[in-house]
């Protein structure tokens, strides 16, 4: 108690004139990052070519949808879910099977429902008995892959001819449909987080679980809700993957959970919860995608992408900590 009091005094007296104002650091960093990225983009031949922009917008969309979902989980104080990548793969396969049976509408409903339920079930375990989120999601990875194996025996599945899936591969006003979906998902995520009671409850839970409980927040419903939405958004990513690549197998989702949490972190959402937003995550996903696209154009092969993503995550985490400390 007394320790906190010490810091309080300063805000009353305001800081000394010569001391650096740390509150400006995040703003400064943001400005530097934007300027540097812009300069690098301009200096990279072909970056602003239409095919490059289109492919950038398409690739960022898959990861972005998962990342917005992950944001809800991170904000609720449950760090991350390892199972979202597997969920995306499973949703892609369910989508194809259901489209082949009942058409696009049925497919969409089935894929989203399966993804949302698989994720919500984990959320229920995490919220109701407060099981450890990391372990639950790792267990879910094993269960999802195991279950998928029963049905597919490790093979890919494809759309039947004549399902009309091609129309979903189009553009809307020159923008790839996937990116439009990502924007909608981000808007939905932002709406949930800022303008609904559920969203505010997520922040409260993330910043202090016990305080949220004592304030009358229905904690397990809130956690389950966060995972449900995360699953639904991930399901959309899976559906888009299936449409884009005209087929699916469980490997499609591999690694998306890591990309997604990287985007969440790069956007500036804190791992410990109670802080962050969907827009930040969109920005984070865009930064990673832009850097990756630039690397490809500059002749780095794909294998460098992981390395740079890792280094970016390191850099962002370090920046965060230096901005946070007083």
């Amino acid at each position: 108690m007394t320790g906190k009091g010490d810091t309080v005094r300063g805000t009353r007296e305001m800081s000394m004139p010569l001391a650096p104002d740390w509150r400006l650091l995040p703003t400064a960093v943001r400005a530097v990052v934007i300027v540097a990225l812009t300069v690098a983009c301009v200096a990279t031949p072909g970056f602003f070519s239409l095919p490059n922009i289109l492919s950038l917008l398409t690739t960022v969309s898959f990861m972005g949808c998962v990342a917005v979902g992950m944001t809800l989980i991170t904000i609720s104080g449950n760090i991350m879910s390892f199972s979202l990548g597997a969920t995306a793969g499973a949703a892609a396969m369910v989508f194809i099977v259901a489209v082949n049976i009942g058409g696009i509408g049925i497919g969409l409903i089935a894929a989203l429902a399966v993804a949302a339920l698989v994720s919500a079930a984990q959320g229920f375990a995490v919220g109701w008995v407060r099981a450890n989120p990391i372990i639950v999601s790792i267990a879910a990875v094993a269960l999802i892959y195991g279950t998928a194996e029963i049905f597919t025996r490790h093979s890919s599945i494809y759309f039947k001819p004549g399902t009309g899936i091609e129309i979903l591969r189009g553009k809307l006003g020159g923008v790839p449909l996937e990116f439009v979906v990502l924007l909608c998902v981000t808007a939905a995520g932002q709406f949930i987080l800022y303008l609904t009671r559920f969203g505010r409850n997520l922040y409260m839970m993330g910043s202090s679980f016990r305080a949220a409980e004592a304030a009358g927040v229905k904690t397990w419903r809130t956690v389950t809700g966060a995972y449900l939405w995360a699953g639904a958004f991930t399901g959309l990513a899976g559906v888009m993957l299936a449409i884009r690549y005209d087929g699916a197998n469980m490997d499609y989702g591999v690694g998306y959970e890591y990309d997604a949490i990287a985007a969440v972190l790069v956007g500036g959402t804190l791992m410990k919860g109670g802080h962050g937003s969907a827009l930040r995550t969109l920005a984070g996903a865009m930064i990673i995608a832009i850097v990756q696209a630039m690397l490809l154009l500059r002749g780095f092969r794909q294998e460098w992408q992981y390395l740079f993503t890792g280094l970016i995550v390191f850099a962002v985490i370090l920046l965060h900590s230096s901005g946070e400390r007083r």
């Binding site: 372990i135 639950v136 194996e149 890591y258 949490i261 390191f314």
Partner: protein, 325 residues
């Protein structure tokens, strides 16, 4: 006495181990596929694949951290060992272990210096290591031409052991002895139990964090390197499914994510459970998904059983039933 055994988290892995053996024996009854001389050897081989990684990860979990980067280090070390150790296998192993050690120390120092949580830092580490592996191998699978070594590391001796499983068991023995008979074990438990308290009491918490992450890096690297030798090849993407069994082994072995419990022998038992399960299921020719599902189900059950609100929720349900009546 009975109650104390039941409440002891270290007793749990033994029960599960016994249950697995009984179950597999029952499935296999009369066919002598599971209950054969080959099973112990293959069990220990599987144990060698995950045991040490689980030990490193488990130790980080004991101090309430989580080393995600073991997955990346496992793959990276394999690639490094195979690429540098063609002529001199010891040199390859040394390179891999040096990288694991350095990576662990760097990550630990970052956490300590900047007061950062391990999930974020080791996620950065994971992506970086996977990236390095891809870059080093140029995204290809690398063959290991020294077949003599490849055969040697898997060659059975003393009926049960191979070089790989022998190394794993030896390291487990050393760590278990250190943990049980020196100050270090209790210091680690204290850090997991209440880090601030341990720090004020005079435990050098920072040194432990760096040391444990370094150890975890070395464990992952050594396992990855030996496994790649034994497979006579390494690929940057091919070794990534080690996190699930490693975490499962640690949890099964009585490591609590709330900190303050767990010990090396428990983790060994946990890893043994998974090894018995996997080699046993192979022996009775169960399809591969059975292993995945069994592992996932066990892990989920343990996670829910460890949930701090489990008893409270059950009591709530009971209370509701009372009022309904």
């Amino acid at each position: 006495m009975k109650a104390s055994i039941r409440n002891d988290p270290h007793f749990r892995p033994l029960v599960i181990l016994a249950a697995c053996i009984v179950l597999l024996s029952a499935v296999d009854w009369g066919q002598w596929r599971f209950l054969s001389a080959a099973t112990p050897f293959s069990t220990l081989q599987t144990f060698a694949n995950i045991g040490l990684v689980a030990l490193g990860l488990g130790l980080t979990m004991m101090i309430r951290e989580f080393d995600l980067s073991v997955v990346g280090m496992f793959g990276l070390a394999g690639c490094v060992a195979v690429m540098t150790g063609a002529a001199h296998p010891w040199f390859g192993i040394a390179c891999a272990i040096a990288i694991g050690l350095a990576a662990g120390i760097i990550q630990g120092l970052i956490m300590v210096r900047f007061a950062l949580g391990s999930v974020g830092v080791t996620l950065g580490g994971l992506l970086t290591f996977v990236g390095l592996a891809h870059v080093l191998t140029e995204n290809r699978s690398v063959p290991y031409d020294n077949f003599r070594v490849a055969l040697l590391v898997n060659e059975p001796f003393a009926g049960l052991l191979s070089v790989r499983s022998g190394v794993s068991l030896a390291i487990f023995a050393v760590v278990a002895l250190t943990f049980g008979f020196t100050r270090l074990g209790r210091d680690i438990i204290a850090i997991g139990s209440d880090r601030r308290a341990a720090m004020i009491a005079g435990v050098n918490v920072d040194a432990f964090i760096v040391g444990i992450f370094a150890f975890s890096g070395v464990c992952a690297a050594a396992t990855g390197a030996l496994l790649s030798y034994s497979l006579a090849s390494a690929s940057p993407a091919g070794l990534s499914d080690v996190l699930v069994p490693a975490a499962a082994a640690a949890i099964l072995g009585g490591v609590s994510l709330g900190g303050g419990s767990g010990r090396p022998l428990g983790i060994a038992t946990g890893a043994l459970v998974l090894a018995v399960l996997r080699s046993g299921l192979n022996a009775v020719e169960a399809p591969p998904f059975v292993n995945d599902i069994a592992m996932g189900a066990i892990l989920l059950t343990v996670a829910i059983g460890d949930g701090p609100y489990l008893m409270r929720r059950l009591r709530q349900l009971a209370a509701r039933e009372r009022t309904d009546r």
